[in-house]
Symmetry: C2
Subunit: 148 residues, 2 copies
């Protein structure tokens, strides 16, 4: 019982430490956000059946990070998100005046992430940015759907 | 010697017959060109290294043709062509006034086919159209290159 309490207490500490690290990570991401993203990847995703596909340019700061598994997976997931969810803008700041549709519908970064609806695409990107220690940005995307 | 001459003569006939069939095929393609291309495929190609990619919409008349190997390969080759050769227009008819660059450089259909420079992309498409017996058209494409 005592042991369990200790474990729980420790778990609490671990949670706090993780949260502190997470916040520190985000703080570092904010500092980094001015840095240029000249490296990165162009990734494509074709949905089964070949009726919709997307390409995305995901930028980072170094070729080293562009070649990590985390970054490649993120590029793949974002291309899949674009193909599936058909956003029209990268960020809500680009939404045209008079377009009253919610950002969570039309702008990629504000959309719920298709692999985990509890996070936005932006939050998922910031988590990876914190993990790889570089600024990570969606620069452009393009999507084609048959007959649209 | 006599035998060789006969073979050569036959080869001449075969060539003529092939040419006649080819022309007939093109004639049929011309007749078909008014028919709608509502089916087809969206295909993507990412070049090794992930620094350039393209998506293309290749239309045909029926889903049956869209699922043939010839059609799928053509869609793949055209996506690769767009990624590698960076055309800006589908057809020369779209080249903007004042753009003096040659069609073989800037418009996809007039570019030499990268897998066989002796044909244009348009000729390769017409050959496949003749083979599958349907109108086949590149409807749209999009290309992204890192940092461009």
């Amino acid at each position: 019982m005592e042991c369990k309490q200790t474990l729980e207490a420790n778990q609490g500490d671990v949670d706090k430490a993780a949260e502190a690290l997470r916040l520190q990570g985000f703080a570092q991401v904010s500092k980094r956000s001015g840095r240029e993203t000249k490296e990165g990847l162009i990734e494509a995703y074709v949905h089964t059946g070949g009726r919709v596909a997307a390409i995305v340019e995901l930028g980072c700061e170094t070729d080293f990070v562009a070649r990590t598994t985390e970054f490649k997976e993120l590029a793949h997931d974002i291309a899949m998100q674009v193909a599936a969810m058909g956003p029209e803008y990268v960020d809500k700041s680009e939404i045209e005046e008079g377009d009253s549709r919610p950002a969570a519908q039309v702008s990629l970064l504000q959309q719920p992430f298709i692999k985990d609806n509890s996070s936005s695409v932006e939050e998922v990107i910031q988590e990876i940015a914190a993990k790889v220690g570089e600024n990570v940005r969606v620069l452009r995307f393009s999507r084609l759907a048959l007959g649209e």
